[in-house]
């Protein structure tokens, strides 16, 4: 159904939708008002009743035009905001924060108002989603009725010219006389027509009266004069033209029963008006009534029997009763005008009662605009700040992480800076650019999805959900940057001093900054002006806080994913399952950095080649486990059984070993720089060719250890009474 937007702009669909929606109660109200007026002023003339009924059509037109224009303006504003957000999704970010702030400052009355607003918004959003269907159905009906209308006009036009028989000249003279009595200036022609069974009038500029062929045989001259008087009254009152306007109302508002009722009231009163004029002109109401009865008699005689079962609404009967009863025939236009004024005033009042809702929407858009300006300036400050910080820090890899929220211009500026400062090669720069632009577009798509959904739905839950989804997605994308950094680092062949962990930390910071600014929810909050008050506000805050935490977790886990989060589930089940998994997935080198491994039985676990930086092991069994070629820098071991554990060729710098039974551990050819052993029993361990510069062995049992080829320096601390040189340790200056 949304394909309709290809043919009709969304704003128009929305405006039509609201106009149709409001027309339901508007027209009903007008009809009720009309019924009340007609019932309470039942003594007023037909002319006055006709004016009131027609005025109610005008009132409906006025109501609906106002609704349409207002809705269209609102829809256009919304489209503008949509466009703004599409071009710069960051606008969104600030608003949510602001609205949260506002909520805190709201008093009870405002909260209550906001509560009502959100319900109204929910109703609105429901209808708005269904507008395309509604408009398509209405449009189809409109086309059908238009077709019928056009066909009718075509036939009427043929009636005007086809199968006519001209009448005696005396009739033209009679018409001229009657016309002058009515002060009717138009020239009216009269014909007999083979196409009609009843006398009728048509045409606006060149009106004609058509009599059926049977008329001249079945009716007397006086009868025909009465008929002509009635038809001249129609012409005098411009009824043909006004009836076409009325038909247009019927076509446009075909779906509304009240319109058909109003229309039938107008038709009835119109005939009454002409009856009044005709009776006045001919001066004999009984004769006039007889004429109508006679014409009807002729019609019934020509019609088939089936037609006799036609709707018995007593319309003609009532008309004739009215003609014969002169009480109701006073001609009082003033009354009608007063009544019309009442109806119009009532209607205008109703029409304007719609406007407050409309204004709510307006307010939303203006706030969005305001905060947009605000937000842009903040972004600029933020960017400068970031640049300064990164320059001071002189950390060439982490700069753009903080720029998560800046648009591509800022990113490219930064990229230039990076390249100037660090002479990054062109290829890497290009890669970085692509990666960042991809990231940006990915992020935009997600955010836009969120916002678009939000704008459409105007639904708190959906918006919060979508926004968080967008934020999460954005945070996930940050990993792309880390990858880029790592690629950059590898490419530049930087040494170990650039720590992955710093990058991760910066990534986290970036993510957090991103999240802080990524609260898309503001739109709703703007719209809702504070949603459901303090309670809801708290919930919302909680929700956002939770999601923030959530996303932080996601980031740390995602980061440690390269670092191993999904493996923890396996490793806590013990070494058997772990080793089995490693055998099956021998191409994967898991990253368990930054994890805490407690109370885990991992004897003979295979941890070879793995990343275990900053991993904390405590109260676990790692006896006979293999850390061969693993990277355990900065890891900590408390109360861990490490007997016969193998650290062959491992990176074990800056580690802490406390209270660990470590008999017969192999540290052969490992790097133990700056590691600390406290109260560890290292009896019979192997330190051959190990790098023990800066390593401390406090209160350790080093009996029967081999240190052949190990390298120590003046910072290496050995237990008292340990003769390092006798063990074959080389000391570097």
């Amino acid at each position: 159904m949304n394909a309709i937007y290809q043919f009709i702009p969304q704003e128009i669909v929305e405006a039509i939708g609201w106009t149709l929606f409001h027309s339901i109660w508007q027209i009903i109200s007008v009809a009720i008002l009309l019924a009340i007026i007609l019932a309470s002023f039942n003594k007023i003339s037909a002319a006055a009743r006709y004016i009131v009924a027609y005025a109610s059509l005008a009132a409906i037109a006025l109501c609906m035009s106002i609704t349409f224009i207002q809705s269209y303006n609102v829809a256009r504003e919304k489209a503008e905001i949509r466009k703004e957000i599409l071009s710069n999704p960051l606008i969104v970010i600030q608003h949510f924060k602001e609205s949260l702030q506002k909520q805190k400052n709201m008093d009870a009355a405002e909260v209550k108002k906001a509560t009502i607003n959100i319900q109204w918004l929910l109703v609105k959003s429901y209808f708005q989603r269904n507008f395309p269907v509604m408009v398509v159905i209405w449009f189809s009906g409109l086309l059908l009725f238009l077709l019928r209308f056009a066909g009718g006009l075509w036939y009427v036009n043929r009636l005007r010219y086809r199968q006519l028989i001209s009448m005696d000249e005396s009739w033209s003279q009679r018409i001229a006389e009657l016309s002058s009595q009515l002060k009717l200036k138009k020239k009216v022609e009269i014909f007999q027509s083979q196409l009609t069974q009843v006398p009728l009038t048509l045409g606006f500029f060149k009106p004609v009266i058509l009599l059926p062929v049977s008329a001249l045989t079945g009716l007397s001259v006086q009868h025909i004069e009465s008929i002509i008087a009635h038809e001249l009254a129609h012409i005098l009152r411009l009824d043909y033209f006004l009836n076409i306007i009325q038909s247009v109302f019927e076509i446009i508002l075909f779906y509304h029963p009240a319109i058909w009722w109003i229309s039938s009231v107008i038709r009835t009163e119109r005939e009454h008006c002409c009856d009044d004029i005709a009776v006045q002109l001919t001066g004999d109401s009984i004769h006039y009534a007889k004429t109508l009865a006679l014409v009807q008699e002729n019609v019934l005689m020509q019609q088939s029997l089936a037609m006799a079962f036609g709707a018995n609404k007593n319309q003609l009967f009532n008309r004739i009763k009215r003609i014969l009863n002169p009480k109701t025939m006073k001609n009082n236009f003033t009354e009608g005008i007063i009544a019309s004024c009442i109806i119009l005033a009532g209607i205008i009042g109703m029409a304007f009662s719609v406007i407050p809702n409309v204004n709510d929407d307006m307010r939303l858009s203006s706030t969005v605009k305001k905060s947009k300006v605000l937000n842009q300036s903040k972004i600029q400050v933020y960017t400068k700040d970031t640049v300064n910080k990164t320059q001071v820090a002189n950390d060439k890899n982490n700069k753009e992480l903080n720029n998560d929220n800046n648009d591509s211009d800022d990113i490219s500026t930064l990229l230039q800076e990076i390249s100037q400062k660090n002479n990054v090669s062109e290829d890497i720069q290009k890669e970085l650019e692509v990666a960042l632009s991809d990231l940006n577009s990915d992020m935009n798509v997600e955010i836009l999805k969120g916002i678009k959904g939000a704008m459409k739905e105007m639904d708190l839950n959906v918006i919060v959900g979508e926004a968080l989804k967008g934020a999460r997605e954005a945070v996930k994308n940050i990993d792309v940057k880390v990858i880029v950094h790592e690629a950059m680092k590898d490419a530049r062949n930087d040494n170990d001093n650039v720590d992955h962990d710093i990058i991760a930390e910066e990534a986290l910071k970036g993510a957090e900054a991103a999240l802080n600014n990524m609260d898309l929810n503001k739109i709703v909050n703007e719209a809702m002006k504070g949603v459901d008050g303090a309670l809801k506000e708290m919930d919302l805050n909680k929700l956002i806080q939770e999601s923030l935490n959530d996303d932080k977790d996601n980031v740390s886990r995602d980061h440690s994913d390269r670092s191993g989060n999904k493996y923890t589930d396996i490793i806590i089940n013990g070494s058997e399952e772990w080793n089995k998994w490693r055998e099956e997935n021998n191409q994967i080198i898991p990253n368990l950095s930054n994890l805490k491994i407690e109370d885990t039985k991992l004897p003979k676990a295979s941890l070879s080649g793995m990343l275990l930086k900053r991993t904390t092991f405590s109260n676990s069994d790692l006896s006979e486990a293999s850390f061969k070629e693993a990277n355990v820098n900065n890891a900590e071991f408390y109360d861990v059984i490490l007997e016969k554990t193998n650290f062959l060729d491992a990176q074990v710098t800056n580690c802490k070993f406390r209270d660990c039974p470590m008999k017969k551990v192999s540290f052969e050819n490992s790097n133990l720089c700056n590691s600390v052993f406290d109260d560890c029993n290292l009896e019979g361990s192997d330190f051959r060719k190990a790098d023990i510069r800066g390593t401390s062995f406090n209160e350790c049992n080093l009996n029967d250890c081999t240190f052949m080829g190990a390298i120590a320096d003046e910072n290496t601390r050995f237990p008292e009474g340990f003769d390092a040189k006798a063990q074959g340790i080389n000391f570097q200056e």
Binding site: G151, Y155, Q163, L195, L202, E231, N243, S247, I286, L324
Partner: protein, 127 residues
Amino acid sequence: MESIDKAPTSAELEILNLLWQKHPQTVKEIHETLMDKKDVGYTTTLKIMQNMATKGIVQRELNGKSHSYSPVLKMEETRGKLLDNFLENAFGGSASSLVMQVLGNKNTSRAELDKIKNLISQFEKGK
């Protein structure tokens, strides 16, 4: 509004079309042309054409031994009437609400008319 007298049926119109193209024609000639398009019995064609002559749509004249037929209705006129018929059927309802009729655009039943007559005669007596 009424339907047109002598309105030709679709079968009659088919024959009329042939007669408009060329006339006069005999039943045999018409039948042969019709046979090119569809299978019709000679008797059927003859009956239709006799019917048309009775309705006054065509006129018959003795031409030597055989009867030959010519159209009475003019082509434009007939087509116009058919269009009128069609429009009346399709849009008569719509049109009747677009013109100003003396009786209004609601149907009146015989019973209502009787009621009306009663009312009028009561009034006449009252006076």
